[in-house]
Point group: C2
Chain length 439, copies 2
């Protein structure tokens, strides 16, 4: 590998890069590189030239003014150009993004990507290839947009044994839950508003059912614990069942409902899960609203850390991508020490969801008759679930909502209890079960 | 410089380092290196051996079990040992810490320090020496303990033009203000408690008068804006004048009082100041309590970012120091590209405090008589200060407290107004002036 690259004007080194995909994020990267050229050059030590941009249609009208001669529809032009040292993949989706990244790596190019799907599902293969070729594969933008959490775990907190990472890492659901909490909207209304504002897609499944958060949590967990945490091993529950009444009760108990992505090391076995949770309203994370993201990290030396910022958007994501490019340039494009994180030799076990422990909020509709609550309490007791609070609000209807908060207990015990309770003739429905997460 | 160092067992490279000073932080570093040996070795690619520790007294009884033969009272033993590649300075104070760092650099050793005083006041000379010797000078631990804000500004947010940095970077004052806010203590009581708990020193001047925050802000400002911001150029005001009644009023207006360190780029001229300020109680920073620190950063690409964490303590500071050691090792101890931040060529102007703009909270004791408030309002008007709220609470005494909140105005206008108001015969005293900081 060439270590010293051609000099630009003023004895400044220069480097040629290529961008694959020129949608929202691609254009954000272009904007950051042009608007902040002075800062980027000073801090990287290189003048960065975007030599090629891979697009589907060269003649498409774009909001942004880019010289036409750098646009191409032929990826091979980029892979075959030895003067291009860094390839920035911003196409999204699994393929051809993954194949293109692999090709770039095999040609000895460093790769920067914002692609959570590829890193979460095909990361192992890509990192193996990158280590073999002694190139860097950077992916700060794949999780939590502009928040430097990958850098944090990978560079700043390296002295720590990480104990847990808890994040609000999906902006769409945080926006929806904020509207439900602050303005009393129900899920449908809040989703519709999010779609109108461009925070949710026409098909919102990936966000509201927690899939997006699962990909990102897989990446965070693998990095934090130096082990491969596959997407399939992560428990997932979305926010579609959260009703305004749950948010009201949460408030009464001093909690705020957030969609959390959680990974914890519990005696050398990992709990990894994505689900809505009640968090203490006084915790800084409870006050992270709208489409903002937040990550709580507990390290055995650093203690509690929280990062809050924008999890999406062209410029915040562009900030992360260009930050990665600058990191590669500051290592002088020379990575003989292997800059990609080394994983542990042994695989860490993932706990079965039944074996995880939490406090639980349980809301049921019970017949307003003598003895009913006694039956429920006795089922909890038999299954070793001990209760910390009960609220029953007398409304003069046949069925009344009753809400329980449990002490810390095994998920298995809760499942058994719910199974038995829902079979009681006096219970109309177990409406909702929401975990309570303390930090 | 040797690029490849001797291999330890398992083909693992190894490196010898020295620690100068073995107080609280030095012992924290030792604990992190020993407790997290596995993580540190995996992530750095090196086995780290603490070869020497400089102490004042070898035979002093220590809580921590360190082999006596690595303790020394002779610094030259360390500088003259070519096998020692990294020197960690944790002595504190200006000298001999600075001389020792310089000596280590001149001997081609990388330096890691937690010393805010030396970096803030002598940083220019040290970085010049480090760049000349192509060694790294790392100082993550010098600001905000375990929060990776130096790394954030220096590595992750490099793609941004930074617009402002606002921090709670002194844990002692945050602890005192938290006690005053939550438990209604006055300053003296809260200070006494902080001293009892070990959060404040016997002579608390450096913390409560804002000097400590000034050193840290000088470091943050220089890094964020690529220019030297000297300690002397920073406006400073401590928290000793904050009274419980100010905290009460703040609450009524929806604000929380924090000691803030602020640097802002206003049209290519910097506002740099440390003073107590009212911040909106809904902002995540308002909920950062006790001895926790927080840093708010606004970049032109990333938007708003907040980092929250422990600003002091042996292990959080140890986390930052060992993180710096690992960064040096991951660059393979080879820094031909110059890893220290490059400053801008031109110096950025620092705004005169008179020319800064803020909203202001002003509390006065006024005679409860007709026409008094009219006089005050008219003075504000003549000086172009426009008011957004006034609270006067009728108490049946000769003098009543009157509180004003102004719209954004020049400090100069406030000073002129206060000067005139305090001369009015009907005004007993201008009790307090506190800036209101929006984010």
């Amino acid at each position: 590998m060439t270590k010293y690259l051609p000099l630009g004007g003023d004895g400044m080194k220069s480097v040629r890069i290529a961008i694959l995909g020129f949608g929202n994020v691609g254009q954000g990267v272009w904007k950051v590189l042009t608007t902040n050229k002075e800062e980027v050059t000073r801090r990287s030590g290189y003048e960065i030239e975007v030599a090629k941009i891979l697009v589907r249609d060269i003649n498409k009208t774009r909001d942004i003014d880019v010289p036409k001669d750098i646009l191409t529809t032929d990826p091979e032009e980029i892979f075959d150009d030895n003067s291009i040292k860094i390839v920035v993949e911003l196409m999204g989706g699994l393929n051809p993004a993954k194949d293109y990244m692999l090709k770039a790596i095999e040609k000895g190019k460093h790769v920067v990507t914002a692609n959570k799907l590829v890193i979460a599902t095909e990361g192992t293969q890509l990192f193996r290839a990158a280590n073999k070729q002694k190139v860097m594969l950077c992916y700060e933008a794949s999780v939590a947009g502009g928040i430097p959490v990958i850098h944090g775990l990978n560079e700043s907190l390296t002295a720590n044994k990480i104990e847990k990472v808890i994040g609000i890492i999906n902006g769409t659901t945080n926006y929806i839950l904020t509207k439900m909490t602050r303005e009393g909207m129900d899920f449908r209304e809040a989703l519709k508003l999010a779609q109108e504002k461009g925070f949710a897609e026409a098909d919102p499944t990936s966000d509201v059912e927690g899939y997006d958060a699962v990909y990102k949590l897989s990446i965070l967990s693998s990095l934090a614990f130096g082990t491969n945490v596959s997407v399939d091993s992560i428990y997932r529950e979305g926010i579609t069942n959260i009703e305004p009444i749950d948010i009201q009760y949460a408030g009464e108990f001093g909690y705020t409902i957030k969609l959390l992505a959680i990974v914890k090391d519990e005696n050398n076995s990992l709990e990894v899960r994505v689900h809505p949770a009640m968090v203490p309203s006084t915790h800084p994370i409870a006050n992270v609203n709208d489409s903002f993201n937040a990550i709580f990290i507990k390290g055995n030396a650093v203690g509690d850390l929280v990062f809050i910022g924008r999890g999406a958007g062209d410029l915040p994501t562009g900030s992360a991508v260009v930050g990665d490019i600058i990191s590669i340039l500051r290592s002088n494009l020379d990575l003989s020490n292997g800059a990609n994180t080394k994983m542990k030799q042994e695989q860490i076990e993932i706990k079965d969801m039944d074996e995880t422990e939490c406090e639980y909020y349980i809301r049921i509709s019970a017949k307003d008759a003598p003895g009913v609550l006694g039956e429920v309490t006795s089922i909890f007791g038999k299954n070793n679930v001990s209760l910390s609070s009960v609220i029953q609000k007398g409304e003069y209807t046949e069925y009344v909502p009753v809400v329980y908060i449990t002490h810390k207990t095994l998920e298995r015990n809760i499942r058994k209890s719910i199974d038995a309770i829902s079979k009681l003739p006096s219970i109309k429905k177990v409406n909702n079960i929401i975990r309570v997460e303390k930090f």
